[in-house]
């Protein structure tokens, strides 16, 4: 298992606790946040590669949090978690640069696979950025493009 820095954001405390336990056992130690503000604070302080983000939360909602995360660090990959199944929200998320979205209830191992995919993509992005140097490519625009690409690929599987 790679050492992806994972952050799980959900307002369901028990879900955070159990998922953390399961993931620890399987080799990833995620950080957790129960709301958008906490999540942003953590991303500011510590390096985070992938965020699993619940769309519907009290306070700052998932879409807003996603936007702020991408503003903070465009390279952070975000997997949206939704219990609502709202197609519109999912599309909005993808437009804002989310890596994928997953319907609740989902399998933890499946979720972890998605996290790995996202992490791999982030690594590739970071690599490309390093090699491109300062040739003016906006990382954020790229992120949007790739994210959509990845999403369609993902769907076809």
């Amino acid at each position: 298992m790679s050492s992806a820095q994972l952050l799980i954001v959900d307002d369901e405390e028990r879900f955070l606790k159990t998922t953390t336990t399961v993931m620890k056992k399987r080799g990833i130690t995620p950080q957790t946040a129960s709301n958008g503000e906490d999540a942003l604070r953590i991303i500011e302080k510590t390096p985070v590669d992938v965020v699993v983000l619940d769309i519907k939360m009290p306070g700052m909602d998932g879409i807003e949090t996603l936007r702020r995360i991408k503003e903070l660090d465009p390279l952070v990959e975000v997997i949206m978690l939704t219990g609502h199944g709202s197609f519109d929200l999912a599309v909005t998320g993808m437009r804002l640069g989310a890596f994928d979205y997953v319907m609740k209830p989902c399998d933890i191992p499946e979720l972890m696979e998605k996290v790995e995919d996202a992490y791999a993509k982030k690594q590739a992005m970071a690599e490309r950025k390093r090699s491109n140097g300062e040739n003016g490519t906006t990382p954020r625009a790229m992120a949007v493009f790739d994210a959509q690409d990845a999403a369609t690929n993902n769907e076809k599987e």
Binding site: E12, R14, F15, T18, T19, T21, V22, K25, R26, K56, L81, G83, H84, G85, S86, F87, A90, V91, M103, K104, P105, C106, D107, I108, P109, E155
Partner: protein, 563 residues
């Protein structure tokens, strides 16, 4: 949603609407028609009456003048003779004959001529009768002519014993009077008066001041009889009068009467009132006829118009009801959809926690399994139980996903689809099992259906659902049959799944697309099948509809947008 059960909702008060429209359409025109006709008849009657009376006055006036002129001419003839011929000369027979001949040339009305001395002795006579030598001292006319120079007698019998009248003139010669008398041809004079004709029943006659007929009355009064209606016609004054009255036989007559200037006679012209008013009566009949014909036409037109309008109104009413029904249904479905997605979301969150817990328990078992051989049987049972929890979580997930699909919250994967292939494939999936149960599935697919862009797996889910329902519905039918018909309808691809099963009652029909509505026994179905179909089809821009008659069968119609 169409409800064939609506047959019983007959066009409400159709006949009442028609009656109201009919009365409104008819009342105003009929009042106007009656008023117009009434006014027309009134004015026509007034005009006609004045025309009739005017005409009669004119006739009386003309003919009175004519008769007056005739009498005065004859008188002048005689006066001329007495003034130009001396008594001695006229008494000679051949001379009198010459004079009569001359007079008759002037007017054939002269019948005979006689000369009388002062004491009434008939001195000379020329004419068809043998009257010479008779004495007329006591004759009415002789008495009268002694008093004045000219006398025109009433009709009398005299010595000849036939009705006639005479004109006598007096002449003074050498202090002694002598008289010349002429008899007027009754026949000739009668014709003169009688020939006046007005209409069918119009007639003219003369009466003297005692009411005795001086000429014949065409309707029956004989010469010298007394006019039975004399009391009604004896009016004083020289002016011509006209009026209507009834005769002694109670026939109504229009009279016009004028007094002659030459004698005391009155010229009476009369016409039966019904005859005089014939044009008026005809006009009234025509008017009434027109009212009836026009009225009938108006009634017929109005009837059709009213029927038409009433029919349209009732159609609109039915349409409105259907529309209201559809709106209510759509509103209900939207509300339930909103609720469904809320419920799904709220349930998905705890399911997610449960799922995580199950995964954790699974992982924990893996850790503890090698260490405990002792209680392995119990541990297996716990494992099985946890496994079951996982299965039940998945079951719940399916339900919430069904709910979300109904709420149209699922995202379709759009591909180009050949409708024929899709239908054939789907039917094949069900057909084998159905054949085993003795249920044939017929497909009628119109050739050259265009390709559509839609989600094939979602559509397949819809048609599988409809087919399974159809097969389920015909299980107990005598001759079970399921038909799938695909064709074009307007801009839609129309796919109908029809069965001849037991049908759906109206109560159920209303709820059929609502989630969790099912008539199957508890546990056999979630009641999400048709609601999911509804959600999918609406989400794909199509329409789904159902028609059903209990005992006859059910038809589901799916309309998909073309291209």
């Amino acid at each position: 949603m169409k409800m064939t059960g609506q047959k019983k909702e007959k066009p409400v008060k159709y006949s009442r609407i028609r009656r109201i429209i009919l009365s409104r359409i008819l009342v105003a025109p009929f009042i106007i028609l009656l008023m117009v006709c009434g006014v027309l008849v009134y004015y026509f009657a007034a005009t006609l009456h004045s025309r009739v009376t005017g005409e009669m006055i004119r006739i009386v006036d003309d003919h009175r003048n004519m008769i007056d002129q005739f009498l005065s001419e004859r008188t002048e003839d005689l006066k001329f003779i007495v003034n130009t011929t001396p008594y001695e000369s006229i008494c000679r027979e051949h001379r009198l004959a010459e004079i009569l001949e001359m007079l008759q040339k002037g007017s054939p009305a002269f019948l005979d001529l006689g000369v009388f001395d002062h004491s009434g002795n008939h001195i000379a006579y020329q004419g068809p009768y043998d009257l010479e030598g008779k004495n007329y001292q006591q004759a009415v006319w002789f008495q009268a002519v002694k008093e004045k120079p000219v006398y025109i007698s009433d009709v009398f019998l005299g010595y000849r014993n036939t009705p006639h009248f005479v004109i006598a003139v007096r002449k003074e010669q050498n202090g002694v009077f002598w008289y010349l008398r002429a008899t007027i041809d009754t026949y000739y004079f009668n014709n003169l008066v009688e020939n006046i004709r007005v209409g069918e029943t119009g007639e003219a006659y003369l009466i003297n001041k005692e009411g005795v007929f001086q000429t014949k009355q065409r309707s029956g009064g004989k010469l010298m009889e007394t006019d039975p209606d004399f009391s009604k016609t004896n009016l004083p004054g020289g002016r011509i009068v006209t009026y209507s009255t009834t005769d002694y036989q109670t026939n109504k007559y229009q009279y016009a009467i004028g007094r002659l200037h030459q004698t005391d006679w009155q010229l009476v012209v009369r016409q039966e009132y019904m005859d005089a008013a014939a044009p008026l009566i005809r006009a009234v009949m025509v008017a009434i006829g027109l009212i009836f014909i026009g009225g009938a036409v108006v009634v017929v037109i109005a009837f059709f118009l009213a029927s038409n309008v009433a029919h349209r109104l009732s159609l609109a009413d039915v349409e409105k009801r259907e529309m209201t029904h559809q709106l209510i249904m759509a509103g209900k479905l939207a509300e339930v959809g909103e609720m469904s997605s809320g419920i799904a979301h709220e349930i998905n969150n705890p399911l997610q926690v449960m799922k995580a817990e199950v995964t954790l328990i699974d992982d924990l078992f893996k850790d503890i399994a090698p260490q405990s051989d002792t209680d392995s049987e119990n541990i297996e049972m716990i494992k099985d139980s946890v496994n079951q929890i996982g299965i039940q979580i998945d079951r719940c997930r399916k339900i919430t996903q069904g709910l979300l699909k109904f709420a149209r919250k699922s995202d379709p994967v759009i591909k180009k689809i050949n409708p024929e292939e899709l239908i054939t494939e789907t039917v094949d999936m069900v057909a084998h099992q159905a054949m085993l149960e003795g249920i044939p599935i017929e497909t009628e697919i119109a050739p050259n259906l265009p390709e559509i862009e839609s989600d094939p797996s979602q559509l397949q889910q819809v048609f599988l659902n409809l087919l399974n329902n159809a097969v389920y519905a015909v299980r107990e039918s005598q001759k079970p049959e399921v038909r799938v018909i695909a064709d074009m309808a307007d801009k839609w691809i129309r796919i109908r799944v029809a069965d001849n099963g037991w049908g759906i009652s109206e109560d159920h029909l209303e709820k059929i697309f609502l989630p969790f509505f099912t008539t199957k026994p508890v546990g056999s179905g979630t009641g999400l099948g048709l609601s999911t179909c509804f959600g999918i089809i609406e989400n794909l821009g199509g329409k789904i509809d159902v028609e059903s008659d209990v005992g006859t069968g059910t038809t589901f119609t799916v309309l998909l947008p073309k291209g």
